[in-house]
Symmetry: C2
Subunit: 322 residues, 2 copies
């Protein structure tokens, strides 16, 4: 970015009214959880986790974030402080009597397969997202991985958001497919991984799966391929995004949520065409996901600054130039 | 490429002596075979195959090629004509009494796994590559997949080639590892796939495998990841090359050889730094490999022209820009 362009952007922002600035936030709904994560080399009990936590922190590097979720009265204060340090608006976070959603899982040697050991839903079992009035007009909505019925319920309360992205997981394909299919008619961008794409379309080849996914509703589809990057399919064609190459994976939990969060955070503040912004957003998302993988839970992601992200983005530019 | 640069390149070539022009060829050694390939949808007996055939045809789109190999007296004349149509120099191709090397294999449903049904070595069993005098001063050498002892034997006959690349396969890691390790001290570029990299270094993570592969000798290492592209590691850092996205894979046999051939073909004619040329060469290699996968054996690759390749390269530029 040249100095001239940077200045112009600043002026543009300054000239916006308070109402317009509120529109530039990202609303994130998803799970807010405590994760106990075992890997071949370590065990980490009750870390801050959940799709919404990862996505919200990732998005917070780029734009203001409003979090929708629920935690129990056992939820550690330090994690509320962590959200606040990232300037995440917690007006939509319910604190209910009972236990916070707790997930425990174990990764295998090569970190590619994980096994759920235990899931305690706690207060999540009766969660009904209720949006404060101030949240209903947010322009960018990320429906992070959560039951499709809850994703619907959030959308029902929103006033014509400008851009809606939805993530999911295999569980919902198995137990809530009709809800998910209905949701796909209501979103601009559907983010899923390669094995979910296969499950949903019966196509082994992700490129062949793409038109079938568009037919389900979304104008934009992103298929995540972990260490192999991600592919965007849009009306203007495809974009092949690299993953940031990592020597060592400490814990991939939340990498996909971080990717989606970073992407939407960038989208909410970027100028230019949606196509260009999605491409660049995927690069930002990849980079935040790479930091996420370098520590347990959010431990690494919460230690970085925007400058660290920008450095890796420049590295990715060099790594892919030909 | 601007008009000015193109003109300069032309002048540069014109000013070279005949001896220098010969140096711009690629010498390709490897297997020359008849392949019988079964996939879930079709069966194709006795197609032209072998690592050297695929690599030589791929390289021929970019530079003159000299082929080193052996076939039996049963080798169909139409395949010799095919080589000649690609202006491949056959002075180093031995035609011996006996049968041509015949491989038959079967691909599974998702085309990712293949199973060898039968291997008849034929005249290949006693093959000893002998280089005509005119071949010994070629600057660019591609030791395509073949027994490491034969790859050594070719190098032994060469006068200080400018750039040597070697490909391999899991078989040689299993039965000829000492020969292969000795070979790696003699090559500039080692090309292998991700599972071979894992087997050789015991590293699950390809990025972590790279420094271990450099320690074995080669300055440049390329790890092929099939549909996920390829990674170059060089003294100046890494390059992440995309694969050309294909909706339908007909037959991936020879895709890796085509990649290596396209890459070396480009390298032999390109001006500029080795780093830049390798990056661009990988893109050309990926594109030729994509055509290879769209037909059985060499049937699709031999139907394309340079313009088809350039079109897909431009597409890859658009697909990766951010």
């Amino acid at each position: 970015m040249t100095g001239a362009i940077r200045k112009e952007t600043t002026n543009y922002r300054r000239s916006q009214s308070a109402a317009t600035i509120r529109k530039m936030s990202v609303l994130v709904v998803g799970s807010t959880a405590l994760d106990s994560i075992k890997t071949p080399t370590a065990e980490n009990p009750r870390l801050l986790g959940g799709s919404a936590s990862h996505a919200a922190v990732a998005a917070s590097f780029f734009s203001p974030v409003k979090l929708i979720g629920v935690v129990g009265d056992d939820f550690p204060k330090k994690y509320l402080q962590l959200y606040r340090r990232h300037k995440i608006d917690l007006d939509g976070l319910q604190i209910r009597p009972g236990k916070t959603f707790h997930w425990s899982g174990e990764y295998e040697e090569n970190m590619n397969r994980r096994r759920t050991l235990e899931t305690e839903l706690g207060v999540f079992e009766t969660f009904s997202p209720a949006l404060p009035e101030s949240h209903r007009r947010v322009a960018f909505v990320l429906l992070a991985n959560i039951a499709p019925a809850l994703q619907h319920h959030v959308l029902d309360q929103m006033a014509r958001p400008r851009f809606v992205a939805a993530d999911t997981m295999d569980l919902w394909l198995n137990i809530a497919l009709p809800d998910l299919l209905r949701l796909l008619k209501r979103v601009d961008l559907f983010i899923l991984n390669d094995s979910e794409a296969h499950q949903l379309t019966k196509e082994d080849n992700v490129i062949a799966a793409l038109p079938k996914l568009h037919k389900l509703g979304p104008r934009f589809v992103i298929i995540k391929k972990g260490e192999h990057g991600a592919i965007l399919s849009s009306p203007k064609g495809m974009f092949v995004a690299p993953a940031y190459p990592l020597k060592k994976l400490v814990d991939p939990t939340g990498a996909g949520d971080s990717f989606a969060g970073g992407l939407m955070g960038h989208l909410a503040t970027a100028r230019g065409s949606i196509e260009t912004n999605l491409r660049r957003g995927m690069i930002y998302g990849s980079v935040v996901a790479s930091f996420c993988c370098e520590g347990f839970g959010l431990t690494r992601t919460t230690k970085i600054k925007r400058a660290h992200i920008d450095r890796r983005v420049r590295e990715l530019e060099r790594l892919t130039r030909f």
